[in-house]
């Protein structure tokens, strides 16, 4: 009974397989392949049973029927390749089928591909499969076969598994395999196949297959497609783009150094063609090529490449090609920089750079300026490739750049100021532009310490020359170039690599020179007035920057030198000094000398905290005296800032004489010094002073804002977190108290101080603290000072978004004051009040609607557009209030 049921099942199984085969082979129903695969997967019948069922169709005399049969088997195998027990038999069967009629070949290849995915393939089977594929598929015939076969053929190889799983075995095939591939690929036209073929070629190259004597063949067969000229047909079903093909081919061509010797002539040839896309593609391929260096030893190739690239940049037809050319030049140069030199060969990098320099250098000196930019671009491109290249180029170009620079100066000097026709002026301008470019180029290349040592003296020379002239016209040009020079120096200081060498260079050469120059400028009669301020700002910023990274030891020395210069008039360390000894720089009453104190500030205030400033007490008292006694604003603020900077870093516990200067107070506030309260109390008491009151109020703004020059973290100042909040919480009560006690005419000072403090607080703190201060702020809106209006309005606006109950009770007062401010003379106040009014429309303010709308009609005709825009917005919002469809 059991046996019969088993037999029944057997019979049922074979019937099922048979019917599926029948429907697939004769009925041409492709979907049955899926059913058959499912049947095998579910265990309804085995692969063997399927083969048995296929028997008649596989042995049919009709090649198409045989193909159909194999097709079904391949489809099934593709789904169920897992752990096939019959794999060896199947491989033998498929290898044998390769000899069959060409119609059968595609499904056979498909089946073989599925079989390669089997686990536990017997050793050697991969090789034997490949060997039969190459042997039995006659590639010559294959090229005449339909695209589809070809596709299967390629996908058989490209399948990662088949190549990656048996690398050693396939490598055994060696050159045969490569040859087979080359032959099969020859003359291929279908983009899909090409894409696959390029991928296989790439795998071959990267997989380390022995290309042997077929290297050139492989290159030929792939490179004949370069540059890719393919535009996908409309409604392309395969979705292959030109870019994909280009990338794939590029990966092959640039994949191995062995191709380089063939590739380079090809690239030069395409570069010299007239086709734009070919040029671009060649240049981009050049950029990508990382193994060119090997063959770049060949001198004539190098010349050819350079000539082509140069032509593209000089006679540029499109920006794209130009930038590709420059990128290619950079890539080439960096390639050459990395190449290994043998003892007998010459340095290919310097040979190559020689070409470049020979062709570009003279353009830099040509007066017509036409090729200056392209040449400069080329040089920059080569320069940026490597340190060695930049060094060679800088050494070669710098002298002529400098010479050029000096020549231009002479041209300007020789220009007769009396003979000012239009032409000359424009010429001067162009020379000026050249000089500016020279300067910025100089600054740009000065990164290496060695270069800095070369370039900075030149810049200093420019500064020095600025002092020796008296023509008004020359001043005009020089003034801007001085500023530019200072900026260049500053840029160098920012970017130069931090090293002992550079630090020493700055310390020994630079700072003395700059100080001396600044001194000269003020001592000399030819002190040029136009840009004194600018020059100062630049110098100072420059000093600050530099000191940030100066090594400790040197920093200390610099500081002590500066201090002794300023305190004792010790000029001994300044170069070529012709100064009277014992100048009184800090005591001088001449304003021009006293403003030099900002140089002192630059030198000592940015020092790290650990560096001790010598004679600090003497210095502090001198500065204090100066800040109180001097009448020139730049001088006394610098002195005060310098004082503050020093106090901020002074070790805790030292005695401090109090000086009610906000700068000092700030220095102490930042570090929570206990003496700080004494100072703020003094500042508060000053608010009652008739003359100093407004200034004291402004002092609060200084206290609360971030300092840009001295008292910040970059200058190693001691800054504690949350110092603003702390100050506010400690002092707001005092302020309110003082306000209430103050006589009427002093109140504005308090309001100003309050709005200054509140304005600088973080928004979150503002929102929580404001309700308590509201009445004071409303008061502030009605005092006459515009600055107070603006800072109060900017405090109020964030609060209005989510108004506290206290505010709702005071709406009447608030709206009255805001409406009054709509006609403020200051545009920013008008804008701010209108924007507050706009926000207010979200409140329960219906009773005010008519009045506000009337008042808002006037700013609609304001003379400033920005005010009108705000007014339109606000009026629109108020119109919607209480109207149907509105709010």
């Amino acid at each position: 009974c059991q046996r019969s049921s088993y037999r029944d099942t057997m019979a049922a199984e074979s019937t099922l397989a048979l019917s599926l085969v029948e429907e697939f082979v004769s009925g041409l129903q492709d979907s049955k392949a899926k059913d058959a695969a499912k049947g095998v997967k579910d265990g309804k019948f085995t692969v063997l049973q399927l083969v048995e069922a296929l028997g008649s169709s596989l042995t049919s005399s009709q090649p198409h029927t045989r193909a159909r049969g194999v097709h079904l088997l391949s489809e099934v195998l593709q789904e169920c390749y897992g752990d096939l027990t019959e794999r060896e038999v199947l491989i033998a069967f498929y290898e044998n089928r390769l000899k069959d009629h060409y119609v059968v070949t595609p499904p056979v290849l498909k089946g073989l591909k599925a079989l390669t995915k089997c686990t536990n393939l017997p050793p050697g089977s991969a090789v034997s499969m490949l060997r039969s594929v190459f042997q039995d598929i006659h590639v010559q015939c294959l090229s005449q076969l339909c695209c589809k076969t070809h596709f299967f053929f390629f996908s058989f190889f490209s399948h990662d598994v088949s190549l990656l799983r048996f690398p050693t075995e396939l490598k055994g095939l060696g050159a045969d395999f490569v040859f087979g591939f080359v032959q099969s690929m020859d003359g291929e036209r279908d983009p899909r196949n090409l894409l696959l073929a390029f991928q296989i070629a790439k795998n071959l190259i990267h997989g380390g297959y022995d290309l042997g004597k077929f290297t050139e063949e492989l290159f030929e067969v792939t490179s004949c497609y370069f540059p890719i000229d393919f535009s996908p047909p409309p409604n392309d079903p395969h979705g292959i783009t030109r870019e994909e093909l280009v990338q794939a081919l590029r990966a092959v061509l640039t994949g191995t150094p062995k191709f380089a010797e063939f590739l380079l002539p090809l690239l030069i040839e395409k570069l010299d063609s007239d086709v734009q896309s070919a040029k671009l593609d060649s240049l981009q391929t050049l950029v990508r090529n990382s193994c060119l260096a090997v063959c770049l030893q060949l001198k004539q190739e190098l010349t050819g490449l350079w000539t082509s690239v140069r032509r593209e940049v000089f006679q540029t037809s499109s920006e794209k090609i130009e930038s590709a050319g420059l990128a290619a030049l950079t890539a080439l140069t960096s390639c050459l920089s990395r190449s290994v030199l043998s003892s007998d060969s010459e340095d290919s990098l310097s040979t190559f750079l020689d070409f470049i320099l020979k062709d570009c250098k003279h353009h830099l000196c040509e007066p017509d300026l036409k090729l200056v930019w392209p040449s400069a671009k080329l040089l920059q491109a080569a320069c940026s490739a490597s340190t060695r290249a930049s060094h060679i180029i800088t050494v070669a170009v710098m002298p002529s750049l400098l010479e050029q620079y000096n020549n231009r100066t002479q041209v300007i000097e020789t220009a007769d100021p009396m003979n000012q026709d239009q032409e000359e002026v424009s010429e001067l301008h162009s020379h000026h532009a050249v000089r500016q470019r020279c300067l910025s180029a100089l600054a740009a290349v000065s990164i290496q310490p060695s270069v800095v040592q070369e370039s900075t003296p030149v810049l200093l020379e420019v500064l020095r020359s600025a002092h020796t002239g008296n023509l008004a016209k020359k001043m005009l040009f020089l003034a801007s170039s001085v500023v530019l020079t200072c900026r260049s120096l500053q840029r160098i200081a920012e970017r130069v690599q931090d090293s002992e060498e550079a630090g020493r260079c700055f310390h020994d050469v630079f700072i003395p020179h700059l100080l001396s120059l600044a001194l000269q400028a003020f001592v000399s009669v030819f002190f040029f007035f136009v840009n004194a301020f600018d020059l100062f700002a630049q110098c100072r910023a420059y000093f600050l920057m530099r000191c940030v990274w100066l090594p400790f030891r040197l920093a200390g020395q610099t500081a002590s030198r500066a201090v002794s210069l300023f305190l004792d008039g010790d000029v001994s360390f300044l170069p070529d000094n012709s100064f009277p000894s014992h100048m009184q720089l800090l005591k001088g009453d001449s304003w021009s000398l006293s403003r030099l104190v900002c140089l002192l500030m630059g030198s000592v205030c940015s020092l790290p905290r650990s560096v001790e400033v010598p004679q600090i007490d003497k210095l502090l008292s001198a500065l204090e005296e100066m800040s109180c006694a001097c009448s020139h604003p730049l001088s006394y603020t610098s002195a005060a800032k310098c004082f503050a900077g020093l106090v901020n870093k002074k070790p805790q516990g030292d005695s401090l004489d109090s000086c009610a200067c906000p700068q000092v107070a700030k220095a102490l506030l930042l570090r929570y010094h206990p003496l700080f309260t004494t100072l703020t109390d003094k500042l508060f008491s000053l608010l009652d002073d008739a003359d100093l009151g407004p200034m004291a109020a402004d002092g609060f703004s200084l206290l609360m804002s971030d300092s840009t020059d001295v008292l910040n973290r970059a200058c190693h100042a001691d800054v504690r977190i949350m110092y603003r909040q702390r100050f506010f919480s400690e002092n707001s009560a005092k302020l309110v108290q003082g306000f209430n006690a103050a006589p009427q005419e002093k109140k504005p000072n308090y309001l100003k101080a309050l709005s200054n403090i509140v304005n600088k607080l973080p928004k979150q703190v503002q929102v929580t603290e404001l309700p308590a201060l509201l009445s004071l702020l409303l008061e502030a809106l009605s005092c006459p000072d515009q600055d107070i209006h603006l800072s109060t309005l900017s405090c109020l606006e964030p609060v209005l978004v989510n108004p506290p109950q206290v505010l709702i009770q005071q709406l009447e007062a608030l709206i009255n004051r805001l409406l009054a401010l709509i006609s403020s003379p200051a545009m920013s106040v008008r804008i701010a009040s209108l924007s507050c009014i706009s926000t207010l429309s979200h409140f329960p303010v219906l009773p005010f609607r008519a009045r506000v709308l009337r008042a808002l009609a006037k700013p609609l005709d304001d003379k400033k557009r920005l005010v009108r825009r705000e007014a339109v917005q606000a009026r629109g919002e108020w119109f919607l209030l209480g109207s149907p469809g509105g709010r």
């Binding site: 200051a826 545009m827 009609a857 609609l860 005709d861 003379k863 400033k864 557009r865 920005l866 009108r868 825009r869 339109v872 009026r875 629109g876 919002e877 119109f879 919607l880 109207s883 149907p884 469809g885 509105g886 709010r887």
Partner: protein, 158 residues
């Protein structure tokens, strides 16, 4: 306007919005007088369409070239283009534009809103309605009409 009515033009062509006006240095200068210009009026017209969740600019109903302002002679002329020639919303759109301008411009301006010639079937009738001060005032007395206009004019939270 009632619930359930089908949109007349359910799938309109949508146009790119022009970017924010670039602020110039003279606009920030307190002493310079900035005249009211076409672009400023155009910016005021950022009105919602009554049917679509789009602005009139995005539907190309208003365009900057069809806005003419003469600050010295106190005139503003705006031509608007209904999306389809039979658009029943044309009067409403014109009314919204007119109301927006009335609310946003100083009294001295004479405001003229009309349909771009040749773009609407009942062009003349609509133009006449929009030009008639009393009819506009009467329309705004009508609460339900005012409601729709206000909805067009309220800033949409996105």
């Amino acid at each position: 306007m009632s619930e359930g009515t089908r949109l007349e033009n359910a799938n309109p062509v949508i146009f790119q919005r022009s970017g924010e006006r670039v602020q110039t240095a003279s606009e920030e200068d307190e002493d310079v007088h900035d005249p009211i210009d076409d672009r400023e009026i155009f910016d005021i017209l950022s009105i919602n369409d009554p049917e679509h969740p789009l602005s009139l600019e995005e539907l190309n109903v208003v365009e900057q070239v069809r806005v003419k302002v003469n600050d010295a002679e106190n005139t503003v002329g705006v031509e608007f283009t209904p999306t389809i020639p039979h658009c029943s919303m044309a009067t409403l759109i014109g009314l919204s534009i007119k109301v927006k301008l009335l609310r946003s411009l100083p009294d001295r301006f004479k405001i003229d809103v009309c349909i771009t010639p040749g773009t609407h079937a009942s062009e003349e009738a609509v133009n006449k309605q929009l030009a008639d001060k009393e009819r506009v005032a009467a329309a705004l007395e009508n609460a339900s009409l005012l409601e729709v206009v206000n909805q067009c004019l309220s800033t949409r939270s996105i």
